[in-house]
């Protein structure tokens, strides 16, 4: 039994013991506490609700037939299977099928980049994996390069960067040829900072990367942040935050921003000796920042609003937020609330969108840079928790890391197209 399995046993016992059992006697007695709607009232509720729904449908039908209102064209199209390209950098396409489900997704250099395999997937997770290139226009899929245990990926300035989860390696490939340009090794001694991380088991557990022409940032599940100079392919600096805090990275020019969960937003940049971590408070409450992106020259963040349960424990509420921060101080300047869990942001050519990847996708707009509006656009088909959401072209792309189907959402008309990665 592994250490994680032992922890799961302890955790399960604790969770189960917290639940009050259900009394059959109360159910037989029709105790309303055992049910949201008392049994005796159900027929009346059903009748009333049925009449209400029928009335609404009737009114809508009349208006539609009359041409007064239109129905938004929200629908799910049939499954599309990505076409496997014959011009592959890799000789054998068959190796793709062994890489497993998609792990991460990024957009850049006119393509979508999908990592597969790795991240502890038994039995050969630490050695197998790779990156695929998907043409968003033709849905042509290419096996781009084999990468051991790949996690996050990012593309910029003619290169696609892939971090290895368990092997401390960051690989850089040419986006035109697929050739390996460089590998950067993350190690305890790789950075000049005396406050750099130490690895008790020698594993960095890199999980995410963001890249621009001038800077590349890598985060790890253990809370480390590493800056790589793309001109020399060497580590410039290493920082340490709380384990588990890094969520998502955004980079623009030499500056970077990290959505750092409960810690807030971390400002990353060459002028800072250490990341400046700024807590984010919305409506007087602490938050869990889960997303960050740069849109129209401003830094946007999104996350969940937390509250204390009165026992010294922070819990999630049913509210989340989207906001704009000052790019140099991290101070939140404006925000609006919504009800998505673990919201993620995506930028397309048409705008900025926020979604939880499971239920709703909404547009985000700002009137005169002062007030943020969030408007639901489409209902998504119920999927697993999204592991990555990116914008490319006019579409928002979502993978959930649990199966081989990604969702392409056209937020202009709400059409969701599931795409199977063979």
């Amino acid at each position: 039994m592994t250490d994680l399995e032992q922890q799961l046993r302890l955790y399960a016992d604790w969770e189960v013991n917290r639940v009050e059992p259900v009394s059959a006697d109360l159910i037989l007695a029709g105790d309303p506490k055992t049910r949201n709607s008392p049994l005796a009232h159900r027929p009346l509720i059903l009748t009333a609700s049925t009449l209400f729904v029928a009335t609404i449908i009737g009114v809508v039908l009349v208006l539609v037939l009359d041409g007064t209102v239109g129905i938004p064209s929200v629908r799910v199209s049939s499954l599309v299977v990505a076409k496997v390209s014959r011009t592959l950098p890799l000789a054998k396409m068959s190796s793709v099928s062994t890489w497993g489900p998609p792990v991460s997704l990024s957009a850049g250099e006119g393509s979508l980049w999908i990592t597969q395999g790795g991240q502890g997937e038994p039995p050969a997770s630490t050695t197998s994996g790779g990156i695929l290139r998907l043409d968003p226009q033709t849905l042509s899929l290419s096996a781009w390069a084999a990468v051991a245990a790949p996690a996050g990926t990012a593309a910029a300035n003619g290169s696609v960067w892939v971090v290895g989860f368990t092997n401390n390696m960051v690989s850089r490939f040419d986006t035109k040829t697929g050739a390996l340009l460089a590998t950067v090794t993350l190690a305890p001694t790789s950075g000049p900072s005396p406050s750099g991380p130490s690895f008790s088991d020698g594993k960095f557990l890199a999980n995410n990367v963001a890249a621009s022409a001038n800077a590349v940032w890598v985060t790890s599940g253990r809370g480390y942040v590493v800056e790589i100079d793309p001109s020399t392919n060497s580590v410039v600096e290493e920082y340490q935050l709380s384990p588990g805090s890094p969520q998502q990275l955004a980079v623009s020019g030499n500056a970077g921003w990290l959505a750092a969960g409960e810690q807030g937003v971390a400002l990353l940049g060459p002028t800072l000796p250490v990341p400046d971590v700024v807590p984010v408070v919305v409506d007087g409450r602490p938050t869990f920042v889960s997303a960050v992106t740069v849109y129209q020259g401003r830094v946007w963040i999104a996350g969940s609003i937390l509250q204390s349960d009165g026992r010294g424990r922070l819990t999630y509420t049913n509210r989340s937020f989207v906001g704009v921060i000052d790019s140099s101080t991290g101070t939140i300047r404006e925000s609006a609330t919504t009800n998505l869990r673990f919201p993620k942001l995506a930028v397309t050519s048409d705008g900025l969108w926020v979604t939880d990847g499971q239920h709703v996708i909404s547009s985000v707009s700002s009137e005169s840079n002062r007030r943020i509006n969030i408007s639901p656009i489409a209902m998504l088909s119920e999927a697993h928790a999204a592991s990555a959401v990116v914008g490319s072209g006019t579409y928002v792309w979502i993978i959930d890391g649990a199966d081989d189907v990604m969702q392409r959402v056209d937020p202009r008309n709400g059409v969701v197209t599931p795409i199977r990665i063979p």
Partner: protein
């Protein structure tokens, strides 16, 4: 046999035995209420664990109570099913999910609770970030030591699907809490 009467012919000879009612000494068949009570008693431990896995401890009680109430309402039909516990589980998930989607107010522990055992602090929030099926499979197999077949039986899916949810759930979990130890292939 219960109480009988002897039917006689014209010569007062016994012709047939007629069953005219239950004997006070015969066991009385349990009523629907008694059978339902016994069912709740038997099914609750398994159901509770499965629903804690799916919804978390804060919502499991409500989901289970609602599903049992629905079951009593449809007891005539449910009581004849081959796998009533699995059916109640699916009712709880279906009804609970609708309620959750409407309210979206589930609680998620993000900081260590006073009574929490000595586990990785990020474990509770990492569990909640798994898909419900992955979370349930991980919770029941590794947390409650159920076999994959038992989980499949309750969830109404195949054992291979459970295996997939388990494998992917553990991989995500390891990633989120920074655990590098490989799962043993069984």
């Amino acid at each position: 046999m219960g109480l009988v009467a002897i039917e006689c012919d014209g010569n007062r000879q016994p012709k047939a035995l007629l069953d005219i009612g239950p004997n006070q000494d015969d066991p009385v068949p349990p009523s629907d209420a008694e059978r339902f009570t016994a069912f709740v008693f038997d099914a609750q431990p398994r159901l509770l664990r499965a629903l804690v896995g799916y919804f978390g401890a804060d919502d499991a009680h409500d989901a289970m109570a609602d599903a049992f109430a629905y079951t009593w309402e449809h007891w005539m039909r449910v009581s004849t099913m081959d796998n009533p516990t699995g059916y109640v589980y699916r009712v709880a998930v279906s009804r609970g999910r609708r309620r959750w989607r409407k309210n979206m107010n589930g609680l998620l522990s993000v900081a260590p609770d006073a009574g929490m055992p000595d586990v990785e602090p990020a474990l509770p929030s990492a569990m909640r970030r798994l898909s419900p099926r992955q979370r349930t499979a991980v919770f029941l197999v590794h947390g409650c030591q159920w076999s994959q077949e038992e989980v499949a039986d309750l969830m109404g899916i195949s054992a291979s699907s459970v295996r997939n949810h388990l494998r992917r759930g553990m991989a995500h979990l390891r990633n989120m809490i920074g655990d590098t130890e490989e799962e043993k292939v069984t």
